[in-house]
């Protein structure tokens, strides 16, 4: 039974008790001490003999504090349920650890059905009155905000601890990532001075001393400082670079090809304050690419050399097949030519005999023979016989000359060995041999440098020289001109070869003719004058037999320039192996 007067009394007392307990709960005591203090004071306020406080820190983890023992102990949830029943007023008995009360009252803290704590107070002999229960309940109500504040503070504290832990863990992770990355990660200030660098960076630079790197310009480690300046201007302009090539120069002098991706960090005004970059070593890839490029260039070059060889081989094959034809021809002609010549000689002899017979016969009967002679015009006949025979001899000679050319073209003399050949002496003798062709046509000037002897088949080279000299003379002769033409003969040396140049001031060789000049049977002379084999044979002798070169070009005198090059060491020729026949 309560009345207003009594209610006011309870309220006043409740406020006093609550205020007192609030000092403990709201203060700096830890949870256990605060709870114990609160429970003790509450117990005193209602004259309880003992108290039992159950609280939990985790959902199903309950602890208990008692008056007798203020150290927390675990508490089974069935007792918690019993305590809650007391607090709800469903029971006044409580039997539990450290408590065996016939009279118990209690309160829950937090939600009634899911409290965060339960406090029960007990008396051993006496009973609690309704006033005491009201007091307890009112005190609890008044303390609610203080308790809530405390709990919030506690949970905030926990949260903060969690966050800090999480932050530290994250920092650790990032730090590990930075340090353990296999690529260089670095940071530099706006002047490109290194502020931090990871282990991979030190490894790439080839140093173990971090302070070799920190505080120093990055460009110290770059092979080409211009390239680093170029990188910096790019990153200033674009804010970043992606896959930018950088060549690092390590302390030991080795160079590393790397690739860099970096970004610039700007302040609020847009000024660059930091450069952050990742650098990866791509030396292996570059080495492979480089080898491929080199191979390609070499392949292209080999290709060109092969093409040249191929052309020459084709030329050789052409020559070889024509040579076989020529050899066959020569052989075929030689046989009948043989007995033609011999018969001719015999005939000449017989004619001489007949002439002698006639002369002798004339002495026997001059008159009769004079008649026959004039009838048959024998005087004319006898006088013509000699010139006819001479002409035929000449004809045979020419045919034999052609056969000789054909045979030499077929290289029947290939087995002749190389001797020590004096080019200048050869020129002198060739000039002598060509004198008839040249003397009424041109003046010859010689410039001999005094070149050494070369391995060569002397007769063949002389044949070439003669051929060219005669061609020069004939070219000049083909022009209508006043006075004599000029033929220049010059020798010189370069490196491993001896050079002979023969030039004239004749009409020269037109471009389209130059290409075909050394082709077998090609000739610009009218029919009957020359077989067109001379230069083909000359080319074959110089190029194939002697591994030299024979080139025609334009002379500054206006005509043609023939340049013969003979190597001093024909066996040592690098490059193509010309597999002769």
């Amino acid at each position: 039974m309560t009345n207003n007067h009594e209610n006011d009394g309870v309220e006043a007392r409740a406020r006093i008790v609550a205020a007192d307990i609030a000092l403990d709960v709201g203060g700096n005591l830890d949870d256990v001490a605060a709870y114990a203090a609160a429970a003790t004071k509450a117990g005193q306020a209602v004259s309880a003999d003992s108290w039992l406080l159950a609280y939990r820190t985790e959902p199903e983890q309950w602890f208990s504090l008692t008056k007798e023992r203020e150290e927390p102990a675990g508490l089974a949830t069935q007792y918690v349920k019993a305590m809650v029943d007391v607090a709800k007023g469903l029971s006044q008995n409580f039997r539990g650890p450290h408590a065996n009360w016939t009279s118990a009252i209690g309160v829950t803290i937090g939600e009634e059905d899911d409290p965060s704590a339960v406090l029960i107070l007990g008396k051993h002999r006496l009973l609690f009155g309704p006033e005491e229960l009201s007091l307890l309940r009112r005190v609890t109500e008044l303390l609610e905000p203080v308790i809530t504040a405390r709990q919030t503070r506690a949970s905030n504290e926990l949260l903060r601890e969690h966050s800090e832990k999480a932050l530290r863990r994250n920092e650790e992770r990032l730090r590990t990532f930075f340090e353990e990355s296999r690529d260089m990660i670095y940071m530099a200030n706006a002047d490109d001075v290194v502020a931090s660098i990871n282990n991979a960076g030190l490894r790439l630079f080839g140093t173990t001393d971090r302070f070799e790197v920190l505080g120093r310009p990055f460009s110290r480690w770059v092979f080409s400082p211009e390239d680093r300046r170029h990188f910096l201007s790019k990153i200033q302009h674009d804010g970043f670079v992606v896959d930018h090539e950088i060549i690092l120069a390590r302390l030991d002098g080795t160079k590393l090809f790397c690739i860099e991706t970096a970004q610039a960090v700007r302040d609020s005004e847009g000024k660059v304050i930091e450069i952050q970059g990742i650098i990866r070593d791509i030396s292996e890839r570059i080495a492979m690419e480089r080898d491929i490029w080199a191979m390609n260039v070499e392949l292209a070059e080999s290709n060109e050399r092969l093409k040249t060889s191929h052309r020459r081989l084709l030329q050789q094959e052409k020559l070889a097949s024509i040579g076989q034809l020529a050899a066959g021809l020569a052989h075929e002609i030689n046989n009948p030519l043989g007995f033609l010549k011999s018969n001719h000689t015999t005939l000449h002899g017989f004619l001489a005999t007949l002439h002698e017979a006639w002369n002798k016969a004339c002495t026997l009967d001059p008159e009769a023979h004079r008649h026959i002679a004039s009838d048959l015009d024998l005087e004319y006949v006898f006088s013509e016989i000699d010139s006819l025979v001479a002409e035929s001899d000449d004809g045979f000679g020419r045919i034999m000359g052609i056969v000789k050319n054909l045979r030499s073209f077929a290289r029947i003399d290939e087995h002749e060995p190389l001797g020590d050949y004096d080019l200048e002496q050869g020129l002198e003798s060739s000039l002598v041999m060509a004198r008839n062709e040249i003397k009424y046509v041109a003046e010859v000037e010689t410039e001999f440098a005094g070149v050494p002897k070369v391995p060569a088949v002397g007769g063949s080279i002389n044949q070439v020289l003669l051929n060219i000299l005669v061609n020069a003379a004939q070219a000049i002769a083909s022009q209508k001109r006043e006075g004599l033409g000029r033929i220049l003969v010059r020798t010189s040396m370069i490196e491993d070869s001896v050079i002979c140049e023969i030039e004239d001031n004749g009409p020269g060789v037109p471009e389209e003719v130059k290409e075909r000049l050394f082709d077998p049977f090609f000739t610009t002379k009218p029919a009957g004058k020359g077989t067109g084999l001379g230069l083909a044979i000359s080319y074959d002798i110089i190029v194939n037999r002697h591994r030299g070169s024979l080139i025609v070009s334009d002379s500054t005198l206006g005509g043609a320039l023939f340049r013969i090059e003979l190597p001093l060491h024909p066996d040592r020729e690098g490059g193509e192996d010309l597999n002769l026949l």
């Binding site: 092979f223 080409s224 211009e226 390239d227 170029h230 896959d243 930018h244 090539e245 060549i247 160079k255 090809f257 570059i286 690419e289 480089r290 490029w293 080199a294 390609n296 260039v297 392949l299 292209a300 070059e301 290709n303 060109e304």
Partner: protein
């Protein structure tokens, strides 16, 4: 139209595309042929386009003609850039065109040298433009 005039539009197109590289063309008198003046960066991006341009232009040149790469205004070359030069060299050799490099800056030369290609190229001091 001279060869440089024929190729100029394509070169301009390329300069627009590869914004860090620009090419200008000139017909040369001594040696006779074509000169390409590069300025800017021959990096991984621009070297592909540059290479295509030159490879397409080579068939228009006479055999034995000369092609000069004037690098005096080149600021930067990457290894891919060097690679494109070697590809151009191979293609020129196959066509009998004589490729030379003129006016190479020292730091660019260093990079070509580091990759071991300086022996592959011929470097000339100067050339005469056809007026």
């Amino acid at each position: 139209m001279t060869l440089s005039e024929t190729l100029q539009p394509k070169a301009e197109q390329l300069s627009l595309k590869a914004s860090r590289l620009s090419i200008s063309l000139a017909d040369t008198a001594k040696p006779a042929g074509l000169a390409l003046l590069l300025s800017g960066d021959l990096d991984t991006d621009s070297s592909n386009d540059f290479q295509s341009f030159v490879l397409e232009s080579l068939p228009r040149m006479e055999p034995q003609a000369s092609l000069i790469l004037d690098l005096s205004a080149l600021k930067y070359i990457s290894s891919t850039g060097v690679g494109s030069l070697t590809t151009i060299l191979s293609a020129a050799k196959k066509r009998g065109i004589r490729l030379t490099i003129c006016g190479i800056p020292k730091h660019i030369w260093n990079i070509i040298d580091l990759l071991g290609f300086t022996a592959f190229f011929t470097f000339i001091e100067s050339y005469e433009v056809l007026t």
